[in-house]
Amino acid sequence: MAGVRRHRTLGQIFAAPIVVGALSVVGLVAALIGDGWWDALSWLSLTLPVLLYFFFVGRRNRVRP
């Protein structure tokens, strides 16, 4: 299905990256502000890009013919 649809707008292309980027900033700053819950927030939001990477790469490998 990907590739046959018409061209995406900049908004569509960058929507997900902007969310991930904003959460990364939250994560980078959170652990500076405090310990405990702030650290946990930092760990969660910085784990997101790692999880997404392995999700997408792993998913496509499984449908490999």
Binding site: P17, G21, P49, V50, Y53, R60, R64
Partner: protein
């Protein structure tokens, strides 16, 4: 391209540095400080200092440094003379409660030290640092230009597309795009704070000739005092002058972090961010009285904030592990970037063309050198 190779060096040497403390613990044994019940008073610093110097062949103390990671030890940084280069100093580890000598390991042969030197200046001093800083700036520019070319590259594809069944050039392009765009903020922050860290020596000089010179204006023409007052008393005066903060290190008169006439006690706060923002208290080393204490100017504060954001050492072990994983992913982005660049050069066409050709080749089930994976 050259910048990418240096960034690979920085990412690879940076990886063990994230865990430098754990690696040192594993590879090198050190004398542990005595186990004491909580609330045990600290040893008198003058006695501790005298003990340290008695166990060192060099006799000029430059700095007293409270160990950030181990609340029961302290480092005494000793130079051959007070005027010698502090970066060549020897470190004497002392027990903060008993005041006893622990050990004075030579760190310069350690794996982590070699990685640190390769990572910060490639054994080339300030020029090496500034050169790596320049590479860091080019890296940040490359990341931003990567974001710019991400848009046309993704015009026909969903976010996260990975064409796992296609030739390597297509797969690696997808990996490069996916990991690159996911890591943009982290690589920009770690990259740029790394650049700021390369300017640390310049920031120190700017502070010396700026705020420090201002605070010590009336002492400008004095020479080093022949007899120093008690360092313990100086620390006590500093603690009183700046309530709510604890001492992080003391710079002795005549060192790069002080004037010729002052102990400077650098104090830190107790949250992750305020523990990095050191505040100097200047104590006259002849009278033992407080001369001045001010917040650091913005350019020093910027450097202080940049340090944890570069090192990733401010959110416990999980953050360090995340730092390492993100670093490895950055190495993948750089590696696939080098590969795509080489393929483009070899083929004499853009990656887009190569991908298009590989699609055509895929369709006709042909196997040309360009598409073989």
């Amino acid at each position: 391209m050259i910048c990418t190779l240096f960034m690979l060096l920085l990412c690879i040497t940076g990886l063990p540095l994230i865990f430098h403390h754990e690696i040192d613990d594993l590879l090198h044994s050190e004398v542990k400080a005595a186990e004491v019940p909580p609330g045990t008073p600290k040893a008198d610093l003058d006695r501790l200092l005298a003990n340290a110097l008695a166990n060192s062949s060099w006799k000029s103390p430059h700095f007293l440094i409270w160990d950030r990671d181990d609340p029961s030890t302290m480092f005494v940084s000793v130079g051959e003379q007070i005027t010698s280069d502090s970066t060549k100093n020897r470190f004497v580890r002392m027990d903060l409660h008993t005041g006893a000598y622990l050990d004075s390991p030579d760190v310069t042969g350690r794996f982590t030290y070699i990685m640190l030197k390769l990572h910060t200046d490639m054994f080339a001093g300030l020029p090496g640092k500034l050169f790596l800083g320049l590479m860091g700036i080019l890296f940040c520019v490359a990341v931003i230009s990567g974001v710019v070319v991400y848009a046309p590259s993704m015009r026909k594809m969903d976010f996260g597309t990975y064409r796992g069944h296609r030739p390597r050039i297509v797969r690696w392009l997808d990996i490069h795009n996916l990991a690159g765009i996911l890591l943009v903020m982290w690589t920009l922050v770690v990259g740029f704070t790394g650049v700021i860290n390369t300017w640390a020596d310049l920031v120190l000089k700017a502070w010396q000739f700026g705020q420090l010179a201002e605070m010590t204006a009336q002492y400008r023409d004095r020479s080093l005092p022949t007899q120093l007052t008690s360092v313990q008393a100086a620390v006590d005066v500093a603690k009183q002058a700046v309530p709510g903060m604890t001492p992080s290190f003391v710079a002795f008169p005549g060192t790069v972090f002080s004037s010729k006439s002052h102990y400077i006690v650098f104090l830190k706060g107790d949250t992750p961010v305020t523990s990095r923002l050191l505040k100097p208290a200047l104590i006259d080393a002849e009278t033992g009285k407080l001369t001045d204490s001010r917040d650091m100017p913005w350019y020093v504060t910027t450097l202080f904030i940049s340090q944890p954001l570069h090192f990733g050492d401010y959110g416990g072990m999980p953050l360090k592990i995340l730092w390492a994983v993100l670093d490895v992913l950055t190495i993948i982005v750089l590696g696939t970037g080098v590969y795509l660049w080489l393929r483009r050069r070899k083929a004499g066409v853009s990656v887009d063309r190569a991908v298009a050709q590989s699609s055509a080749a895929n369709a006709s089930a042909a196997n040309t050198p360009l598409t073989s994976s």
